[in-house]
């Protein structure tokens, strides 16, 4: 019995839904209490550490759609657990932080609903054992992040950024779904744990495997903001600081990295993997820091450095050596710790001083001591200076690059270059606002409340602790995660702070020296606006904007063409299309007329038919609307008589009732319709006549053909008839079909009807409100 995983995830979701209710009662203290939930969940997840350290996995399976091989199956191995712990752990501090940051905000309850839903989706994502289930959580993170990024929904930019993030990541997610389905069909299973045990050489040669691979990579790259899909991430900085700190340090953008790591054993043996993933990662790594150097906004600097780190992680997974994977996992952990802290401190500065411009900040260390201390530690880790986890991760990064195949020195040069600029960005984001002379800011700065500095400080303490004794997280967190990705890991040395005088340490020293030079030059670079202006103009974001605008224009045109508001045109289009569709299939169907089974004509039957025909002619020739309406009613009643004669009393009754109500509707609408002054031209009338007769003829032929068809033996009507009473306690087969045998269809139909009615209601109301606009 699972007491940890599903209850934990469920508790997170549930807390989200309770939050808006609790917000009224608890007010600003809400966050302090709510944070206890992810904290408890974190503690519960930690109990799984011994399981994965021993090399085991923790599985929970609930059936969902067994017929399609889709189940609610979850499994936790080292990789999942690392992510679970980071998400719930960092999440705890974010909840605390948000309590202070959004103090007094009226939407606080709603904010926590979004935040917890996002957290739950993220946890579900990393614990999914089924590809389809993973996709569901994946899209759930896209939707909830849309709500979070657009939290300041009164702001135009905020809405645009949220929509952009949703479209880019959601679109990528759909590509990924297609890739998952292909992969599942090729490999024969959607269960990730089964996939991981398969020998990839069994299906890697499949013709469609490269397609599946590229589609899945699209999903991962859009989510993890790899070039050319990177632009949504910096724009998403419109979000409140706690959102940025959570989404862009430990969670949302890491989902793509998680996916790459998760499916690494399945996909990485294909040649395309190395040739796509590593270069894309390397490019993003370099582009991120170069673009970041041109920014003055603290959050933008952090966003672009995040891009670079995501590129680094992608590059490492692309290289795929055991050492690279190990480096990737350490780097992931280090980045989650320092970047969450830096985003939070940046938010604190913004809140206290009223600006995020690095050139307008300085000397805050005495005004905001705790924040400054936390930022200093985080920046230290980000710069990769010894004693912190960031240093260890950078060492392993260099080791992996030195160890990797590929063009000589290429990876090393790119890696060291990017790290030098990263050093400068760390100084910019973590030191510049706090040191130097105190600069006058829009608001006089104070230290933030404890809820807002406790998180960054704790994360800093962890970064120091893990940095001093890296063997500890190495054994309990990193090792099992690497083992989960590398089925047969080459024996890896224990994580350690000191590796002796080697090439990696030499590169680290070069990085620090180079970083100092870049830092000195950074202000000059920032003012090179021409260079960055060109980059913005030619960047892929232009393509997104053009594409979106073009798509909207296209849909507007298409809508005007197809839905032009004339009912007669709709019927025309539907009629022609249906007729053509049926005609195209008719030649394949054997056609025979068999009159032997025909019921002998009765006076009443013939009379009803004659009535229908006569009434139809009158409708067509009617000079007034009223005559046409009445004659149409006669057609309906004639049909009802026919239904009665052929023993379908239910149909007949419903037909009569519908006719009656239609007349009522016509009477109500009657006086509002314009007079029938305009009559169709002769050409139109002939066209309509031909179409109507042709359509009727085709339907009649269809009915004749269908009469001779026996799709199943015995026919389905026999089954319904025989089972109606014994199985469904009803003698009226029509009704039993409606409310029992085919109840799901009815449920769908009434729902559609309800939606249609609401649409009509909205249309009528809209017309009315346009006529007399509300008085001010």
């Amino acid at each position: 019995m699972d007491m940890v995983l599903l209850p934990g995830i469920a508790a997170i979701f549930l807390t989200g839904f309770v939050a808006p209710l609790a917000a009224r009662r608890l007010g600003d203290r809400l966050g302090v209490f709510l944070a206890l939930v992810p904290l408890t969940v974190f503690a519960a997840f930690s109990t799984l550490i011994p399981v994965v350290v021993a090399g085991g996995t923790y599985q929970v399976v609930l059936p969902w759609v067994p017929a399609l091989g889709i189940s609610l199956s979850f499994f936790v191995d080292g990789l999942s657990l690392l992510f679970l712990l980071v998400i719930s752990g960092v999440g705890t501090f974010i909840v605390w932080y948000a309590a202070g940051y959004l103090q007094g905000d009226r939407g606080l309850g709603k904010f926590y609903l979004y935040l917890f839903s996002f957290m739950g989706a993220m946890l579900g994502l990393v614990a999914s054992d089924n590809l389809i289930l993973l996709f569901v959580f994946w899209e759930l993170t896209s939707i909830t992040s849309y709500l979070l990024i657009g939290y300041y929904h009164e702001k135009e930019r905020s809405r645009a950024a949220a929509l952009q993030a949703l479209l880019v990541t959601g679109g990528g997610g759909l590509a990924m779904l297609a890739g998952f389905i292909l992969l599942g069909r090729i490999a024969g299973t959607y269960e990730i744990s089964t996939l991981l045990e398969l020998d990839p050489s069994g299906f890697i040669g499949h013709a469609l495997f490269p397609v599946a691979l590229v589609l899945i990579l699209l999903g991962a790259f859009t989510k993890s903001a790899q070039f050319p899909f990177h632009f949504w991430l910096p724009n998403a900085m419109e979000a409140p600081a706690p959102v940025s700190a959570f989404l862009h340090s430990a969670t949302m953008v890491k989902a793509g990295i998680f996916l790459l790591a998760r499916l690494h054993p399945v996909l990485a043996d294909h040649a395309l993997w190395l040739s796509i993933v590593a270069p894309v990662g390397a490019f993003t790594m370099c582009a991120g820091v170069i673009l970041g150097l041109g920014k003055r906004d603290l959050k933008q600097i952090l966003a672009y450095s995040t891009l670079s780190v995501l590129g680094t992680l992608t590059l490492l997974l692309g290289l795929g050596t055991p050492l690279a994977i190990k480096a990737c996992m350490i780097y992931f952990l280090a980045h989650a710790l320092y970047k969450a802290a830096l985003f939070m401190t940046a938010g604190s500065i913004d809140r206290e001083t009223g600006t995020r411009d690095v050139d307008q900040l300085g000397g805050l260390r005495f005004k905001m001591p705790f924040t400054a201390g936390a930022a200093l530690i985080a920046a230290w880790s980000m710069a990769g200076i010894p004693l912190l986890l960031g240093f260890v991760s950078k060492e392993y990064f260099y080791k992996a690059l030195l160890d990797a195949d590929g063009p000589p020195y290429l990876w090393e040069i790119l890696g060291v270059g990017a790290s030098m600029v990263m050093f400068a960005l760390a100084v910019l984001a973590g030191l510049r606002p706090y040191f130097g002379k105190l600069v006058k800011t829009p608001k006089p700065p104070h230290e933030v409340p404890w809820t807002m500095w406790i998180g960054p400080v704790m994360l800093g303490v962890l970064a120091i602790y893990f940095g001093m004794v890296p063997g500890w997280p190495g054994d309990f967190l990193i090792g099992p995660a690497v083992q989960a990705i590398q089925a047969n890991p080459a024996p890896l040395s224990r994580l350690a702070l000191w590796h002796g005088w080697n090439a990696a340490l030499f590169l680290s020293i070069v990085t620090v020296l180079g970083g100092l030079i870049v830092t000195a030059l950074s202000r000059k670079v920032r003012s090179a606006e021409g260079f960055y202006g060109v980059l913005t103009r030619v960047g892929p974001e232009r393509a997104y904007e053009r594409g979106l605008a073009g798509f909207l224009r296209f849909s507007a045109r298409l809508t005007r063409l197809i839905q032009n508001g004339y009912l007669r045109n709709y019927i025309l289009v539907i009629g022609i299309f249906t007729a053509l569709l049926l005609l195209s299939r008719m030649p394949d169907t054997p056609f025979r007329m068999d009159f032997s089974r025909m019921v002998p004509p009765t006076v009443l039957g013939v009379g009803a038919c004659a009535l229908i025909v006569a009434a139809s002619v009158i409708v067509c020739r009617a000079q007034t609307r009223f005559a046409a309406i009445v004659s149409l009613g006669v057609v309906g009643l004639g049909l009802a008589i026919l239904f009665f004669l052929f023993s379908a009393p239910d149909l007949a009754m419903t037909q009569i009732l519908v006719e009656a109500l239609t007349i009522v509707l016509f009477v109500l609408a009657f006086y509002k319709l314009p007079l029938m002054t305009h009559r169709s031209s002769l050409v139109t009338r002939w066209r309509d006549a031909i179409l109507a007769i042709g359509f009727g003829g085709i339907m009649a032929t269809m009915a004749m053909i269908a009469f001779h068809f026996e799709v199943s033996q015995p026919p389905i009507s026999t089954f319904m008839g025989e089972n109606s009473y014994p199985a469904a306690h009803g003698r009226n087969v029509v009704n039993v079909i409606l409310v029992d045998f085919r109840a799901l269809d009815t449920l769908g139909e009434v729902t559609v009807l309800a939606i249609a009615a609401l649409g009509i209601y909205a249309m009528l109301k809209f017309r009315r409100s346009k006529k007399d606009p509300p008085q001010p």
């Binding site: 009393p649 239910d650 009754m653 419903t654 009732l657 519908v658 009656a660 109500l661 009522v664 509707l665 009477v667 109500l668 609408a669 006086y671 509002k672 314009p674 469904a728 306690h729 009803g730 003698r731 009226n732 029509v734 009704n735 039993v736 409606l738 409310v739 029992d740 109840a743 799901l744 009815t746 449920l747 009434v750 729902t751 009807l753 309800a754 249609a756 009615a757 609401l758 009509i760 209601y761 009528l764 109301k765 017309r767 009315r768 006529k771």
Partner: protein, 138 residues
């Protein structure tokens, strides 16, 4: 313009029509009738009111807003479907009690489902009819 005769007869007819609609709903499982037809009859009872005494009077006699009726009906349909899962059976599985009643036959979740259809259909028809009737001339 209001006609006293139409007004009076429609008010008398309303009770009859409503009773008839219930009758249709209840017997639907064994004999012609059912929620859809019943809902239409019930709607026509109030439509008649709207015609004779105006839509606001008809709304007053209905007590509930038609939009609300749609929601309630859908909810009933959903609840009828959820009886199955509550007993560990698939969604929308029909369940019956042991008793048998005259006219209705064996009451069970399908009847509840049908009642939901009745309410939805009634709500939809009246939503459209009332709003059309309240619509002012072009």
């Amino acid at each position: 313009m209001r006609s006293l005769i139409l007004d009076t007869t429609s008010r008398l007819l309303m009770g009859l029509l409503l009773m008839f609609s219930f009758f249709l709903l209840l017997r639907g499982h064994n004999l012609p009738g059912g929620g859809f037809a019943g809902g239409l009859v019930a709607a026509s009872a109030f439509a008649l009111q709207a015609l004779s005494s105006g839509p606001s009077a008809a709304r007053e006699r209905l007590f509930v807003d038609p939009t609300m009726l749609i929601g309630i009906g859908l909810l009933i349909v959903l609840v009828a479907g959820l009886f199955g899962p509550a007993f560990g059976l698939p969604f929308l599985t029909g369940l019956w009690g042991d008793t048998s009643l005259p006219l209705i036959g064996d009451p069970g979740t399908p009847l509840l489902f049908d009642a939901g259809v009745y309410v939805v259909v009634m709500g939809i028809s009246l939503l459209i009819i009332f709003n059309l009737a309240e619509e002012e001339g072009v």
